[in-house]
């Protein structure tokens, strides 16, 4: 027989090993692989370690027959501290890590919500192994539970592993675990009770204590030392009553009549439409105390929340608090991809714009006639029409204030006039580098109002309507020579402002020039009277002579008339040159009035550059470019000739390109230094001499215009009218984003100390996004989401400030707020103890009052726990009551060594969980 046995061990015949044995063997193997069978004791946990330190999890899959399990090792990573370790090992060598942790009360009631980590809360342990079904299946069969439990017991015994091992059984949602830990002569059982209905005797501490003691002393009946009790009551507050913090979207229905909030129009909304703080959880904690100092029974309780020595608070934020500004921006971005035309959106309302191509002027007539019935006589201001044939998507009484807000100069007493138009300087404010428009300029206002339309006043059709009205007004102003307000004068600023702003600047340039031209028509200058004369004079132009002597020759006419009829009379002089005299005649050289430079918007500049590039790079292309560019040179030459009869190219060059005039020694007959043209100007047929020969003496005002204001204005207006809705939105988007960021920047919130930095970082994104002429919607989306995220944070902070801080802005409170924002449990600091406590208490009280009002008058006796008179109704019944009872008692018999016993209890309205750790001496029993 011995032989056989020996042979058996030699053979290692495991062919008959059962599934169960294989399973246990595999468990042991994994445990060894993880190197768990060690008995090092780490230093005791410090307060908050469970929450602040990180947890580590390793897992392996195991099969038991055809069922797959996963074995998970979960471990708190503590900073290793060798010195403390050894000292503890010496004095308390007898107890395992698990039992020591179970007695340690520093991390009681830690709120851990990851999977399986509630075991740490139930038993206070820092390291454990869990065996759970790999798939979400329930193990409810008693036999199976027993088998699994035995498996882990055997495995932990065989592998000498002290780390507690658990089996997860029952439905997964129940977090139901049974476990065991063996070693050092102790066997600890981890038992659990999970009930839906709370037995009456378990509802209070006294009952639980009795239960605990019964369990410990069963069989031995010795008198115990008083057990230690920790308790925590949790209260939930969801009804904020008067401390709710929400923002209503701007309500345009209230904007009737004279007193409507014009200020509101220019603002973007900010904040959350429902309270960003979802609920407040109050934890009132009584740390370890002997059982005999506290009574908590059905008839009386010492555990009043207000008496609790420790309070901590946790807030739960609403996941998406529907932030107004973010919604505004994101909704608007969505409009950017709308391909509908204004006509498609507004139908007959804009039908006359259909004929814009050729029929512009007749369309204008129809427009101005129908639209300006009463105010047409008042030329000095824009008229906003009172009657309308068809009602648009925005009703009249809302539209009018909007138009007056955009064009305040149309009103006699503007409510919100623009600041001095030329004081707008996009450069010198904090928004430098964002290519949009100045704060509170016309385009700025328009973009904000457009966002209101898109979000509140009817979406795409409303925006189309607004745009339509806007363009009508622009057209009207162009027709009537009324400058567009809030734009400022000057050339389109293609470097610092957005395209829409440039287009409006361009229109203002056109209006200004048109005004000048028309004024000069009404009060004609002397040379204009000459017109017929000079026309007929043209043929004599070749005869060059001094003009002063010429007047004598034509003595037939009256003196005045004579002067006018001179065919060679200089015209278009601006000023006399201080030094230069004409080379041939010796007369003073006059600077001519020249045509003004041509304003261009960014898209036109790009087009121009494109044309220039397209010509190519060869010699011919260069000549072509020179010819294209020489229009202004030619114009200047003609003006010069007109102002300086008898001038030669040398005279022109001395004024225009002085470095091409090489001075020599000696003086000429007029006392000027001699000189000659630079060699490059003397090249035969060079563009300069060619231009000079081909130029006629024509003063600037009679030349063909380099800049055709009518054409340019019509082009700009056509551009505005022909945009599709998405394009309109894109024109406005950069400015709207800027306004949104500016709104965010105006928020003050102490708790978010680096708000300015974050605004700055969004600003740099915005600078980058607004630069190119072709806008990328994606980068704006990013910015909008950034803004929305921060808006939510600001709303949360504001809400918390209002709820808990009121006007308290101290550093302590701000610090408290910052921690709360992280949505973790935060103890109420000593410095704020009284203040925060009274605020929270009164919030609960308010909520209680409100609840009582709602459910008519219900008596307090309905409540779960009775209270003494003074505190009636201040707090609701606790949402959750938790107790931890600890004792050191000998088990299983009176002669055994005393070992730690512990019971965790959690009571909710419809749920009772008891998690007990009961240790037994395995040597003396």
């Amino acid at each position: 027989m011995n032989n056989i046995e020996i042979e058996d061990t030699y053979h290692h015949d495991f062919t008959t090993a059962s599934e169960w044995e294989v399973f246990i063997a595999r468990l042991e193997e994994i445990i060894r692989e993880w190197k768990l069978p060690r008995s090092k004791i780490c230093s005791p946990l410090k307060k908050g370690d469970f929450i602040n330190l990180s947890w580590e999890a390793t897992s392996e899959n195991v099969h038991f027959a055809d069922v797959e399990f996963s074995l998970k090792h979960i471990n708190l990573i503590t900073p290793s501290d060798e010195a403390i370790q050894s000292s503890i090992e010496e004095c308390e060598d007898k107890r395992s890590q698990c039992l020591m942790d179970a007695l340690n009360s520093t991390n009681d009631f830690a709120s851990l919500d990851q999977e399986h980590l509630n075991l740490a809360k139930y038993y206070g342990i820092r390291e454990f192994i869990i065996l759970s079904p790999a798939k979400e299946v329930a193990i409810t069969d008693e036999t199976r539970i027993k088998i699994l439990l035995s498996s882990i017991t055997i495995a932990s015994n065989n592998s000498n592993c002290e780390v507690p091992m658990f089996v997860q059984v029952q439905e997964p949602w129940q977090s139901f675990y049974l476990g065991v830990s063996e070693g050092r002569g102790v066997c600890s059982h981890f038992d659990m009770v999970h009930l839906k209905k709370v037995p009456p005797y378990c509802k209070f501490l006294n009952g639980l204590l009795t239960l605990f003691k019964q369990k410990i002393t069963e069989g031995c009946g010795i008198r115990l030392d008083p057990a230690m009790v920790s308790a925590r009551f949790t209260y939930l507050l969801k009804d904020w009553t008067s401390s709710t913090w929400t923002q209503d979207p701007p309500d345009f229905d209230f904007m009737h009549g004279e007193t409507l909030g014009v200020a509101e129009l220019g603002k973007l909304p900010f904040g959350a439409t429902f309270d960003p703080v979802g609920e407040l959880i109050l934890f009132t904690t009584w740390p370890e105390m002997p059982e005999n100092v506290v009574v908590d029974s059905e008839s009386y309780t010492d555990l009043e929340p207000q008496q609790a020595p420790e309070w901590s608070v946790q807030v739960k934020m609403t996941s998406s608090p529907a932030c107004l500004l973010g919604e505004y921006l994101i909704d608007f971005i969505h409009l950017c991809s709308n391909q509908k035309t204004l006509f498609e959106l507004l139908g007959d309302f804009v039908s006359y714009t259909e004929g814009d191509g050729q029929n512009l002027s007749s369309a204008f007539n129809a427009l101005t006639e129908s639209r300006v019935p009463a105010l047409s006589t008042v030329v000095s201001k824009a008229a906003i029409k009172k009657t309308k044939p068809v009602e648009g998507p925005i009703s009249e009484d809302i539209l009018l204030p909007i138009l007056y807000f955009l064009f305040p100069d149309a009103e006699d007493n503007p409510k919100q006039p623009y600041a001095n138009a030329n004081a707008y300087n996009v450069e010198d404010d904090q928004w430098k580098g964002v290519k949009t428009a100045a704060v509170d300029s016309l385009v700025w206002r328009l973009s904000i109002v457009a966002a209101h339309c898109a979000h509140n006043l009817g979406g795409a059709p409303a925006l189309a309507h607004l745009w339509h009205e806007f363009v009508q007004e622009i057209r009207f102003r162009w027709e009537r020579n009324i400058l567009i307000p809030g734009i400022g004068s000057g050339f389109p600023d293609s470097v610092r402002t957005c395209l829409l702003h440039q287009k409006l600047q361009m229109l203002n340039c056109c209006i200004e020039r048109k005004k000048v031209n028309e004024e000069s028509l009404y009060k004609p200058q002397s040379m204009d009277i000459d017109d017929p004369d000079s026309d007929s004079d043209e043929e004599f132009f070749e005869c060059t002579n001094e003009d002063s002597t010429e007047s004598e020759d034509t003595g037939i006419k009256r003196q005045r008339k004579m002067k006018h009829s001179l065919w060679n009379r200089p015209t278009g002089r601006l000023a006399k040159h201080p030094v230069l005299k004409l080379l041939k005649t010796g007369g003073s050289l006059y600077l001519p009035v020249t045509q003004e430079p041509v304003p261009k918007t960014e898209d036109q500049l790009e087009e121009d550059a494109e044309v220039m590039m397209q010509l190519g790079t060869d010699q011919r292309a260069s000549e072509m470019r020179a010819r294209l560019m020489s229009a202004s040179l030619l114009s200047d030459m003609e003006s010069f000739k007109a102002a300086n009869p008898g001038a030669v190219l040398e005279d022109f060059i001395r004024w225009y390109s002085p470095r091409d005039w090489i001075e020599e020694e000696g003086l000429d007959e007029w006392g000027q230094k001699n000189g000659h043209l630079s060699p490059r100007m003397m090249i035969p047929n060079n563009p300069w001499s060619n231009a000079w020969t081909s130029s006629q003496p024509v003063p600037a005002h009679r030349q063909k215009r380099l800049f055709d204001d009518t054409r340019e204005a019509e082009k700009a207006i056509h551009y505005l009218t022909s945009q599709r809705l998405g394009q309109i939105a894109q024109l406005l988007l950069p400015v709207l984003m800027h306004a949104g960021l500016s709104t965010l920047n105006s928020q003050k919130q102490e708790a978010l100390s680096n708000l300015p930095d974050v605004v700055q970082s969004i600003l740099s994104k915005l600078q980058y996004a607004t630069k190119p002429i072709h806008q990328k919607i994606k980068s704006y989306e990013e910015i909008a989401h950034d803004i929305e995220g921060i808006e939510a944070l600001v709303a949360q902070a504001n809400s918390l400030q209002r709820k808990l801080g009121g006007l308290n802005q101290t550093k302590e409170f701000t610090g408290f707020l910052v921690q709360l924002m992280r949505e973790k449990e935060v103890p109420v600091p000593d410095a704020l103890w009284e203040y925060v406590r009274s605020r929270i208490t009164s919030m609960f009280y308010e909520a209680q009052k409100a609840a009582h009002m709602m459910t008519s008058v219900k008596n307090i006796s309905d409540a779960d726990s009775p209270r003494d008179g003074g505190n009636v109704g201040k707090f609701p019944a606790p949402f959750c009551k938790e107790f931890i009872l600890r004792a050191i008692a000998p088990r299983p018999s009176g002669t055994s060594t005393p070992h730690p016993q512990r019971l965790y209890a959690s009571l909710k309205r419809d749920h009772l969980r008891l998690a007990g750790l009961f240790s037994e001496d395995t040597i003396f029993f």
């Binding site: 470019r625 020179a626 560019m629 470095r659 490059r680 894109q730 680096n754």
Partner: protein, 221 residues
């Protein structure tokens, strides 16, 4: 061999009249020199492909006229320039003192803040120097620009001038990759029609400016 073009760079040439901008450009693009170069009317445009450190880039060089009156015209073409050559004539102090004005103009009209600037002292082959190299270097240092001296006549420093400028631009990634947003063809605003279609260049589209708060609200709390 047709090498793949990494990017197209827009360079500007500015400075007083008759300092030799067009001559330098002619020397660079055609390797020619013409003692009597015509005075540029308005502006001119040349292209040239060069390879630096294995990267082939196409240069679109905008040569502008120096006459004061043209300044109402030419700055329109500064848009989106990535590099600028500010040229003066070392034999004429006036052209050097005027550089300040040109620099201001460039800063006003160029929409790229980080445009790379290079000060070039031209005609250094001539004997009658009025501006010393030290003065030129001092100016360049004060305005944070590159500095080089050149001669279109002897071809001295011409290639080097463009190469260094391009190298510097390439080393400033935000400057040229960002340019992709200006791609022709994909016109979303519908305002202008681009007859050019695609130029032979495709730039990477996903440049992100470096930004310490990219996850801004995480850092907020």
């Amino acid at each position: 061999m047709d090498q793949e073009v990494l990017t197209t760079l827009k360079l500007l040439m500015i400075g007083e009249t008759n300092v030799g901008k067009s001559s330098i450009l002619l020397r660079f693009t055609e390797d020619e020199f013409n003692e009597n170069m015509q005075s540029t009317v308005g502006m001119d445009y040349k292209t040239k492909q060069i390879t630096i450190d294995g990267n082939t880039v196409k240069l679109a060089i905008w040569d502008t006229a120096g006459q004061e009156r043209f300044r109402t015209l030419t700055p329109s073409y500064y848009r989106d320039g990535q590099g600028a050559i500010l040229m003066f004539d070392v034999t004429d102090r006036h052209t050097f003192t005027k550089l300040e004005t040109w620099l201001n103009e460039l800063n006003t009209y160029c929409n790229k803040i980080d445009i790379v600037k290079m000060v070039v002292g031209n005609k250094n082959d001539l004997p009658n120097r009025e501006v010393s190299m030290e003065e030129g270097l001092e100016f360049a240092r004060r305005h944070q620009t590159l500095y080089i001296e050149s001669s279109a006549k002897t071809a001295d420093g011409v290639r080097c001038c463009f190469e260094e400028l391009v190298e510097k631009i390439i080393q400033t990634p935000g400057l040229w990759e960002a340019n992709s947003t200006r791609m022709y063809g994909g016109d979303s605003l519908g305002g202008t029609r681009h007859r050019l279609g695609k130029r032979g260049v495709q730039l990477t589209d996903d440049y992100e400016p470096q930004n310490p708060y990219s996850n801004c609200y995480c850092s907020l709390v």
